[in-house]
């Protein structure tokens, strides 16, 4: 399917917005949107695996961790320029992902989810155990980011680097899922037996999808390490993998808009969930609602907010942000 001029124009506008955004925001906001780019890369990869091929993964935080550790070890212990390590982080994670595709052949549904979940558990534990190389629980501290271009602050430099990689990888993913290969991947998702009888090799396509998807996660992990300037087992908790899957659900089908929405969800909800209740209790106290004086810093409050937001999204937009955008588009066209 060739993209319509309308789709091209839409993407052109989006890319222009991404290009111009740093001109109007602070360094801090630029760094936050750089993280959105990182999660966008991870979600593009996850959508190839889960969205197109139907293989659920609760282990993408583990693949990100692999990329991050490759970057941290190469740049800190071996003095390699950090951005040069990004493709290597992707390749390392991609190889692990490709190999992981083989056991995944025998597993489906919940069982596959559990197996990938194990990966999310194992990688941080392994990093703890290999203390000499990985810094153990303390992890590895990277240099604070710098910018090679005088006119750009380090944050804005990393913003552009991240988004340039994200856009290239998005284009690559679009090509990857097109044509014969895309049809084969979707056939695996819809019905494995039918796919095999139509001559699709499950081994080939599942391992391929796992490998490519993990490569994306590894690249995201490498960039995440550079932005955070720390890599430690604690920076890749199990919840990160779940959050990524939630981001995919929130974003919806594999469109760039959906990926952006999902990535924004992954980036901003954990950071700001705690504030929502603070704002609400503030308003409640002002207009005299009962339950006044509730301490918004009570433990557990952010998790509840996160759950409520997730439920609200699923209720209001069951096909994710992309589905919502399509629906809005249709409504606008009719009127």
């Amino acid at each position: 399917m060739r993209p319509t001029w309308r789709q091209l124009a839409g993407h052109g506008v989006l890319f222009a917005a991404i290009l111009l955004l740093p001109l109007v925001i602070s360094d801090f906001r630029a760094s936050q949107f750089a993280y959105v780019g990182v999660f966008a890369i991870a979600l593009i990869g996850l959508s190839i695996l889960t969205g197109y091929t139907g293989q659920i993964s609760l282990g993408h935080g583990g693949f990100m961790a692999i990329g991050a550790y490759v970057t941290a070890i190469l740049s800190v212990n071996y003095g390699v320029y950090d951005l040069l390590t990004v493709p290597l982080g992707g390749i390392a994670a991609g190889i692990v992902g490709f190999l992981f595709g083989f056991p995944a052949l025998r597993l489906a549904g919940v069982y596959l989810a559990l197996a990938t979940f194990a990966l999310a558990v194992i990688v941080p534990s392994l990093a703890t155990a290999l203390g000499d190389r990985t810094g153990g629980t303390a992890g590895i501290l990277l240099e604070l980011p710098t910018s090679p271009i005088g006119a750009l602050s380090p944050d804005k430099w990393l913003y552009y680097v991240t988004w340039a990689i994200a856009i290239v990888l998005f284009a690559a993913a679009t090509i990857f899922v097109r044509g014969r290969r895309g049809r084969a991947l979707r056939a695996v998702r819809e019905n494995e037996i039918a796919a095999v009888s139509a001559g699709v090799s499950l081994t080939r396509y599942k391992t391929l999808a796992f490998g490519v998807s993990a490569f994306y996660a590894g690249v995201a992990g490498s960039l995440y390490a550079i932005l955070n300037f720390i890599v430690a087992p604690g920076t890749f908790p199990i919840t990160l993998s779940i959050l990524l899957l939630a981001g995919l659900v929130v974003g919806g089908a594999a469109s760039f808009v959906g990926v952006l929405a999902g990535a924004a969800f992954v980036q901003f909800v954990p950071l700001y969930a705690g504030d929502v209740v603070g704002r609400l209790t503030g308003i409640g106290d002002r207009i005299g609602l009962p339950g006044g004086g509730f301490d918004p810093t009570t433990p557990g409050v952010p998790s509840v907010v996160y759950g409520v937001i997730l439920l609200a999204v699923l209720w209001l937009a069951p096909r994710g942000a992309a589905g919502l955008a399509q629906r809005l588009g249709r409504i606008l066209r009719i009127s």
């Binding site: 602070s26 906001r29 703890t128 153990g136 629980t137 303390a138 955070n228 604690g234 557990g300 409050v301």
Partner: protein, 428 residues
């Protein structure tokens, strides 16, 4: 030199000399003013306006470590009290400024600590960060805070490098006695009271466990430890029984537990269940009446925890010995007023309040119109008694030594309470 230039230079010199003498003559915390009235409050630093001082802290409000959020509640409650009460100069807050503490949830995840700290500093423009939790978390932002020259005050961890690396990181400082000091005190106890002890050590497999044991060996003078076992950080209860049975098999008669609460409680319970009855030494982070009660309940016998020896530096908010202590009563009153419904028996709140008080005292000494540099200067030159600490203990920092609390005592647990014993000891 023309006459005009000469006059200009002379005037400048005179002004400089005057302001230097005036500044040095001013009493601590006061800005000189010829008329004798205090200088007007102004926006003297990021996060400091004429009305407010905004500070931040990062703590886990979600996830497994979220019990530590109580430190933040303690700090907030105390600052609410400071903001409402009238100080000796007649103003509320500090010099009439309200102290606002923003609490940021970092889920105990270093990546989020970095982002939330950046948010506090760059978006919310806090004056300083206070009491951020976690060794690794605070190490992660230390370089950033020092590059930006933002005070990273009284981090909530006992790793000694937050005090010892003050030349490299002049904007960073810890608060409580570090793990080395704690270890030294327990080591001295063994040397003096259990000269024939055979000590088995269970420790966490990281810097915390490592340097605590170093301190212990230094205090004991070497030669006591017969066996050491480690467990991984955040290992939980499951990773403890194996090492404990191996330690018992070593034939040791004294058990040193260097572990976070869940693991330490499990270690005590396991030792009891397998019939091991050693002398028990437990690090202070796990030795609270709450956790001892849990261990007793789980083991089904007070014998599992009675006799536990630990170190202490704060007044025990539960101890009958301090029931009538003015500061502990004040603590309970503040909890009742500003954190109703929270269990004031958990001394983590007390810890938070004590820490917030050290901050308030330092802020007073940073001057009527504080800057980040004057704040750091005050923090690094603070010598004062503190009614939150055990009697006789003082907060002491000097330009050459950045360990605010360095007085400790031993305490022994028996039937629901810790009782202090021995003399007040200075460990740095």
């Amino acid at each position: 030199m023309s006459r005009r230039v000469f006059v200009l230079v002379a005037t400048l010199a005179a002004v400089c000399t005057f302001s230097v003498t005036a500044a040095s003559a001013a009493p601590a915390g006061q800005t000189a003013n010829p008329t004798g009235t205090p200088a007007p409050l102004r926006a003297s630093a990021p996060g400091v306006t004429a009305r407010n001082v905004i500070i931040g802290t990062t703590l886990p409000l979600s996830g497994p470590a979220s019990l530590y959020a109580r430190i933040g509640t303690g700090m907030r409650s105390y600052l609410s009290y400071i903001n409402a009460r009238r100080a000796r100069d007649g103003s509320r807050g500090v010099y009439g400024r309200q102290i606002i503490l923003n609490v940021y949830d970092d889920q105990y995840n270093e990546a989020l600590t970095v982002q939330q700290t950046r948010r506090a500093v760059e978006a919310d423009r806090v004056f300083a960060m206070l009491g951020g939790l976690g060794t690794e978390n605070q190490q992660a932002v230390r370089g950033y805070m020092n590059q930006r020259k933002v005070p990273q005050l009284y981090v909530s961890t006992g790793l000694s490098e937050f005090g010892s690396l003050h030349r490299q990181y002049p904007w960073t400082i810890g608060w409580q006695p570090d793990y080395v000091q704690e270890g030294i005190l327990l080591g001295r106890y063994v040397r003096q009271n259990l000269p024939n002890a055979k000590v088995a050590v269970l420790r966490q497999n990281d810097d915390y466990g490592r340097e605590f044991l170093q301190g212990f060996l230094a205090g004991a003078g070497g030669g006591f430890v017969v066996a050491t076992e480690t467990y991984p950080r955040n290992g939980g209860a499951a990773v403890i029984p194996g090492p404990v049975s191996r330690l018992r098999a070593s034939g040791a008669d004294t058990f040193l537990v260097i572990a976070t609460p869940t693991e330490a409680v499990t270690a005590l319970v396991t030792a009891f269940r397998i019939g091991w009855r050693p002398n028990k030494l437990v690090n202070s982070v796990a030795a609270t009446t709450t956790f001892m009660g849990l261990a007793q309940q789980s083991a089904g016998s007070p014998e599992a925890v009675n006799g536990v020896v630990t170190t202490t530096y704060l007044k025990d908010c539960n101890s009958p010995a301090y029931e009538n202590d003015a500061r502990v009563r004040m603590y309970k009153a503040i909890m009742a007023r500003y954190a109703p419904g929270q269990p004031a028996t958990d001394c983590l709140f007390f810890y938070g309040m004590a820490k917030a008080d050290t901050f308030v005292q330092a802020l007073y000494r940073a001057g009527r119109n504080p800057t980040r540099a004057s704040m750091m200067n005050a923090v690094r030159n603070l010598q004062m008694p503190s009614p939150w600490l055990i009697p006789g203990a003082r907060v002491i920092t000097t330009p050459r030594s950045a360990f605010p609390i360095r007085h400790q005592k031993l305490a022994r647990y028996n039937n629901g309470n810790f009782t202090e014993f021995g003399t007040l000891q200075r460990t740095r």
